[in-house]
Homo-oligomer: 268 residues x 3
Amino acid sequence: MSDIVMSKPNPLITLLTDFGTEDGYVGAMKGVIYGDLPNANVVDISHQIEPFNIRQAAFSLLNYAIYYPANTVHVVVVDPGVGTSRKALIVKTENHYFIGPDNGVFSFIYQILDFSVYEIKKTNFDRKVSHTFHGRDIFAPVAVKILKNQSLKSFAEPTNSYVSFYEQYQRFSENKLRLKVVHVDHFGNLILNFNRQDWKNIGQPTETKLLLDRGFLYGIKETFGDEKEGQVLTLWDSSGYLQIAQNKGNASQLLGMAVGDEIEVEIF
Amino acid sequence: MSDIVMSKPNPLITLLTDFGTEDGYVGAMKGVIYGDLPNANVVDISHQIEPFNIRQAAFSLLNYAIYYPANTVHVVVVDPGVGTSRKALIVKTENHYFIGPDNGVFSFIYQILDFSVYEIKKTNFDRKVSHTFHGRDIFAPVAVKILKNQSLKSFAEPTNSYVSFYEQYQRFSENKLRLKVVHVDHFGNLILNFNRQDWKNIGQPTETKLLLDRGFLYGIKETFGDEKEGQVLTLWDSSGYLQIAQNKGNASQLLGMAVGDEIEVEIF
Amino acid sequence: MSDIVMSKPNPLITLLTDFGTEDGYVGAMKGVIYGDLPNANVVDISHQIEPFNIRQAAFSLLNYAIYYPANTVHVVVVDPGVGTSRKALIVKTENHYFIGPDNGVFSFIYQILDFSVYEIKKTNFDRKVSHTFHGRDIFAPVAVKILKNQSLKSFAEPTNSYVSFYEQYQRFSENKLRLKVVHVDHFGNLILNFNRQDWKNIGQPTETKLLLDRGFLYGIKETFGDEKEGQVLTLWDSSGYLQIAQNKGNASQLLGMAVGDEIEVEIF
């Protein structure tokens, strides 16, 4: 008799934090996970998020989350409000779970995926919950509970209230949009609150004209090299959001633009 | 006939070093481990320990080690004395093994766990041992030998001599203690040589009074927020050691205190 | 009946990039791999290569690659030429596969191992290939294809043309060599284009004399400590290349030497 054993893929948990690694705090979270779920596959995304930079974490999450297989649990701990009354959330999408504080870190996920939100009830934990380290004492154990197929209802309840810093673009006339800078990445690219789906929704206009202080940007390019070195252009970023970039330069510095700045766009 | 196959959890090895990652030295250690033990689960704790900062590594280890499941092997390579006559150790506790140089990096482990110490005999290795890279040539292979259930006796021998920088707190009268700062973490919190077990041992005094240069600190708080922003307080850290912290500030800078400084405490 | 189940080791993929981790780009690559090959073991080497520093990446690769078990796939993405016409390569050696851009990042591998080179054909990918992120859209998927035992021919073709920055040492008379500095590591050690095999090839001369601006270095030492603190010496590095080092110092700064500098050596 032949035994063909297909080993089941290990349950996947990704970690994104602003903890750095050198104090062993991330190490403690991993220990808690492996202690309760020895076959887990814990994937480091980053622990180098700038301390308390929720927007950087939200944008990072947008860049990687969707590439993971079904049932992955994404844990995000960038949590300046730890120990206050901010809620702890589970965001459930068709394929994934997202766990973290309710401070806007899931803002982009709310834009691109269908989702439902649950608030973690801070009861019913075997381990004593500290006031200072929810990553170890709440978020990691909740990830394990989910991957052990415990019912969400046993430790969380649905909620319709959650924080998002994302503001929808505005269409203030037939052929005029107002967009906002929602993130500046570390190359100085300006990410706007407008993605390919939005573009489809308004009929895929072939002609666009961005109005900047110092001139216009026509069209949406395919790649940085579609403009000469030093030139500014508009293109889709690798996650499908519209961005303003400078080929081999820093658009944010060049244009003096930052998060929250608004841009008018004419479409034809 | 039904085949229910429980896959055995993979053997766990954690790595803490001051190597950085960019030269590929940590990569080499991982390669050695996977080469000899293909099913190993190698967990990065940190490779960003400040070069040669044994105290930072010791404190980090305290923060994560105990959360790992039984039979985890913790490898620590912060080793300014590599190539000198410093010993290479295996520290065995009830659940874990710790491997690293004998330079005090296990000081906190010696405080919180029962342990026995073995010196690695630098013989009996298949691989040629370099003079410059014991992480790859000694510590990683020893971790593998342990996880393969090779007898410790075949490559190590018990010793009663080992280095610790930890000095026990002093009780110099019925109601007076003298504590010492043993670590300053990266938030500027001052970690003292006094933990919850010590506190139990002296009868769990409800009233404490720390004497600082500029005043007194009464009581042991639960969380940073128990004092107003900017205030200094005493509380247990997330590993159970007493610390002096400034709420949303840096106690070390504010108080001008550093590792080795002493503090008197009155208890009632 | 007894069931003894030997679980097969998970397929190994190592990652070396200059991406940093905080933008989630490495996270996306890992997601692509786990999505297509759930049992993969993705090993982080480093994502802290200095941006665009091909020589640092090449040297790092030299330090770790050979320690990995057979069939490991090493992915290297330090790729200043992404989106240009630079080729994408698979380098096959006896035991391993190396995947990355054709920019010299495999220069040391070409020196120490037998190899054959394949160019990745940018067709035949399920996923749409972006112009800006080949790590996610080409290199990671190719690693998976290889580990799924897809024929190289289906997505790559042999080539004899590839970039190497490594220049062979010169022997310009019976007892005179000319070596070149090919890398300066982060301790300031000067790595030369001469390894143990080269030394064997010229008959293992027992006496060597390096001619530096300010004097001579005799012999090849075993370890840094073979010279007094502050002294300069010649020794083999932990990967078998000749290096000039200063014991507890920075040879590059002390000697004012950098990549590309030449050194004459007399042998006896």
